[in-house]
Point group: C2
Chain length 334, copies 2
């Protein structure tokens, strides 16, 4: 599971992962939103055949049990939108789950690659290579002037959405996070919380991504996000150092209380766990906590989600049962 997560990777103490998504369509048929089931099945077959079978395995969504679907959503391997039309849609993924291709979601093809730390270029190279392989066997809907054609105009052109997941607890504590948000939007980039709803990011995890797919070329988009993320990571790192120097006891107390609760609670919600694990990540980053690795914690973010808990236990569970199992999993992890 989540084998793409590595200890190494640039800025790994602050940047969890990098991610590239390419939207592509076949020029021979309607976009998925207007497609008949028979066409959808043909499209699924064409695309899964175009992928090499040795590295990729394809699935029609209707063949995947519901808990497993939700678990795949929690792992970001498939999107929630893909699960809305299980008769039409499908996906393929490679063995270590770092690459996936969504079939008949909003577009016929969504290529997704996920890499560890700040490594957008690597994610982009992998996506680009996969894209080339598919393009050599399929006819993409492409316009010389506009670029790749997509179901939604916000994806037109490059069809590229590049993003990094970044952990910014110290900038949140010092309230400097709003200045960071302003800088991000000044660069024409978007930022949103990974967990939680609205603007409140649960566990200080944010995703920074490009807003526009038109205009700038892929290289420029990638470079822009990489540069800005590196700057923000460096600011977060400085702020952490300043915090631990000036408020050692306060910060250590926060971190170790979170550790104590995660290590001993008998029932815990996913939201509370995400909030507390953020402090553990900070503690590992500051080398205050040494009995677990960044990698192990980042895996836990996924493993403690509702469907993943049930998938790991191979049984359906209600809220309270999940909270108990989650607490058990966390107790055993620290």
């Amino acid at each position: 599971m989540i084998n793409w997560l590595k200890e190494t990777g640039e800025e790994r103490d602050i940047i969890v992962s990098s991610r590239v998504r390419l939207a592509r369509n076949l020029d021979s048929c309607f976009f998925p939103g207007r497609m008949e089931t028979t066409t959808a099945v043909k499209v699924y077959q064409n695309i899964s055949e175009a992928l090499e079978h040795k590295t990729f395995q394809s699935f029609r969504l209707k063949d995947i049990p519901e808990i497993e679907r939700n678990m795949l959503v929690e792992k970001h391997i498939i999107s929630p939108a893909l699960t809305l039309t299980p008769e039409l849609s499908g996906f393929a993924m490679n063995q270590n789950e770092s690459q996936s291709v969504l079939i008949n979601e909003e577009d016929h093809i969504r290529i997704q690659t996920l890499t560890s730390g700040l490594s957008l270029r690597e994610a982009w190279d992998q996506a680009d290579e996969l894209d080339d392989r598919l393009e050599s066997k399929l006819n993409y809907a492409f316009d010389e002037k506009v670029g790749y054609l997509t179901a939604c105009p916000t994806n037109l052109g490059t069809g590229l959405r590049a993003s990094v997941m970044i952990h910014l607890p110290a900038l949140e504590m010092t309230k400097e996070i709003n200045k960071v948000f302003m800088t991000i939007s000044q660069f024409g980039l978007a930022v949103r919380g990974v967990y939680g709803e609205g603007t409140k990011a649960l566990g200080s995890l944010y995703q920074i991504s490009n807003q526009s797919t038109l205009g700038d070329g892929e290289e420029i988009i990638i470079k822009k996000i990489e540069n800005l993320s590196r700057q923000i990571a460096s600011k977060e790192r400085e702020t952490r150092k300043r915090l631990i120097e000036r408020n050692t006891v306060l910060l250590e107390d926060k971190i170790f209380r979170a550790y104590g609760i995660l290590k001993h609670a008998r029932s815990i919600t996913a939201d509370e766990a995400v909030r507390l694990m953020s402090l553990i990540k900070l503690g590992v980053g500051l080398e205050l906590i040494t009995d677990c690795t960044m990698n192990e914690i980042d895996r836990l973010y996924v493993d403690i989600q509702p469907a993943s808990i049930q998938y790991l236990q191979r049984q359906e569970m209600d809220n309270m049962e999940r909270d108990v199992k989650r607490a058990e999993l966390l107790r055993n992890s620290f």
Copy 2:
């Protein structure tokens, strides 16, 4: 320290200690409130001589450093009132600190005995014996009709205040505590929180004592408090069983989170510690926590108090330093 605390003792899972206090005065001089310093010193000498020196050691309060005085108050060996007139007052205590005699507090003599669990009779017997020893050597102010004469009329007659310290977290959780309070006052007894101010008892620790010293004889007062305390303890025990059977996860979660915080916090106030230790006591009582004993926790209640922390460290500390030392002490205790 606090050697009177034993694992054994009736109802030890719920009743911490039993306590007897006798107010006595000499008939030869004014009550301490109206006494000259020279008289006070003489009274101190007479009383300390009347105590056997082998088992009791006497101190004038002016010779005790301030931190140590406050530590003795936190241990309930001396009273806050005794520290108000250090030039006049003094005290004597035996080696295991289970018996003390306050000299020139509100009355010339306050005999205090402290025993473990529900053992008021034992505490009374010890106080009575000490009282007889003193009475054989000193002339008490005594009136045939009223009984022992005291500075304040609320202590007239027997001069006896008997009390038990009882831990009632389950009755608090189920909100049945108010019914218990009503029963206590119907029996003409008083109840108050041991920690915290006003009616809110911090850490669910209560003291039940007699309100009246006139009318009933000593035997009746002791019996009444013993019987009622035994009934309340039995009700608390039943409620604990019911809670753990019906809300296992909820209760275990509360208890182990408290444990996790006490075991890992880097800074903690006395109030928070008392609140959390109450859950640990409950956990030990329910045999959920087995790596510390009731005795160890009950000692901690005293050791974590502000003056005791400083006394143990042999240095003056401000609030924040104490919170850090307290957290360290607690971490090392679990």
